[in-house]
């Protein structure tokens, strides 16, 4: 199957897509042109860098280099999740890294080995973008889930302590605690789903939160 080579002028037309939200926001009175401009610039730089490093990885296509790159992505994502969830890396880094790495590696391997079935399973053109996309989609959900869980534990310390007093271990107590708070967290799961689909290069959730605050304060 032939691939299409999109030229730079056609690529530049993509910026036209941003005109509609800019126009709509301007019409409803939200002066966010500067924020949107910064997001577009960030997106352009990020995608340009993504293009450069992906091209390099694809050209070299070395299994160890690809593995190393995925490892770097996992470590950066792990630390980013902990920082944004407000948790101390020295206590949580290993546990969250193990959870993220096992799920990402399993999902990527499943897709590459069973679905795509390339000649070489280590092919950078498949494993790197796939692992990156799955990781990107999980990132925000993980941040919110961890932040909500530990906030709930801090806020409802007595409830968690009660489970410990009743003979629960730290792990089983956390499971029962999560279950009893599940209904309260349910709406967020939908939001996580939305974030999962919505995350893209240039997307900055902090800017998004700022936008929501601005909207709410009107």
């Amino acid at each position: 199957m032939a691939t299409l080579d999109i030229q730079l002028p056609q690529m530049a037309l993509l910026y036209g897509l941003c005109l509609l939200p800019v126009l709509l926001l301007w019409l409803i009175g939200l002066r966010l042109s500067r924020d949107i401009g910064i997001s577009i610039l960030r997106m352009t730089i990020q995608l340009a860098l993504v293009g450069i490093y992906l091209k390099t990885l694809f050209d070299l296509n070395h299994p160890w280099l690809n593995g190393l790159w995925i490892l770097v992505m996992l470590i950066v994502a792990d630390l980013s999740i902990l920082r944004r969830a407000g948790l101390k890396a020295r206590y949580f880094a290993l546990a969250t890294f193990t959870a993220i790495a096992s799920s990402i590696l399993f999902s990527t391997a499943y897709l590459v080995i069973l679905v795509i079935q390339p000649t070489h399973y280590y092919d950078a053109r498949y494993i790197v973008p796939l692992a990156g996309m799955i990781l990107g989609n999980c990132l925000q959900g993980n941040v919110i889930a961890l932040e909500r869980f530990y906030s709930a534990v801090r806020k409802n310390e007595n409830e968690y302590a009660t489970f410990l007093m009743l003979g629960a271990t730290l792990g089983s107590g956390a499971t029962v605690f999560s279950r009893s708070h599940q209904s309260r967290h349910q709406p967020n799961h939908c939001r996580h789903g939305h974030h999962g689909f919505g995350l893209a290069a240039g997307h900055d959730d902090r800017a998004n939160s700022g936008w929501q605050r601005t909207w709410a304060s009107r």
């Binding site: 409802n156 007595n158 409830e159 302590a161 009660t162 489970f163 410990l164 007093m165 009743l166 003979g167 629960a168 271990t169 089983s172 029962v176 009893s180």
Partner: protein, 220 residues
Amino acid sequence: MPPIIQFDHVSVSAHEKTILSDISFTLSAGEKAVLCGKSGSGKSSVLKTLLGLLPIKLGTVYFQGTPLTPASVQTIRSCAAYIGQEPMLGADNVRDALILPFQFKAHRGHQPTEAQLIEVLQRLKLPADILKQQSSRISGGEKQRIALARGLLLGKTLYLLDEVTSALDAESKQAVFEVFSDPALTVLSVAHDPEWLELCSIIFELEAGQLTEVKRHGNT
């Protein structure tokens, strides 16, 4: 035989503030003790320290002769029942709250029968149909007695009680007193209720995190 509980020159700090300072006392099996003092004097902190919920800065807490450490704290948690002023039942309805501990590995396989549930409720002057009620719809006093019933179902012999009679009427209070008149039960409590103080054989007076007086009388 070592005392069940021993505080040996224990000091506790949290958020750079001293909560308990150089506390020493012992409590033997079957004794009933009460911690008295003004609000903020550290009464509840003694119970929390014992349960490993506050970090010990100096000294040692012993439970059945073994020093309390992060590794050994599970032992006291599995032996003691802690009941606060507004106990968390941890389940949507009363029946689920009563059987909740039996889903944990420590108590699995010892789930009480319907007859045992009703018997323990009756001991605490609670009607059998309370089992069907939503936890959010029962009163504070009922919650305290449900939490107590849970401890009895678990066969706990050490009770750490924080103002456990604060929301009880005279009849319910009497039922609770009868439960704790059992010489097999050891109690360390926080209370202001004069009737409860009568029940206890040891009174620990606390002031600003320090143990200022220990009164003992033979009414065990």
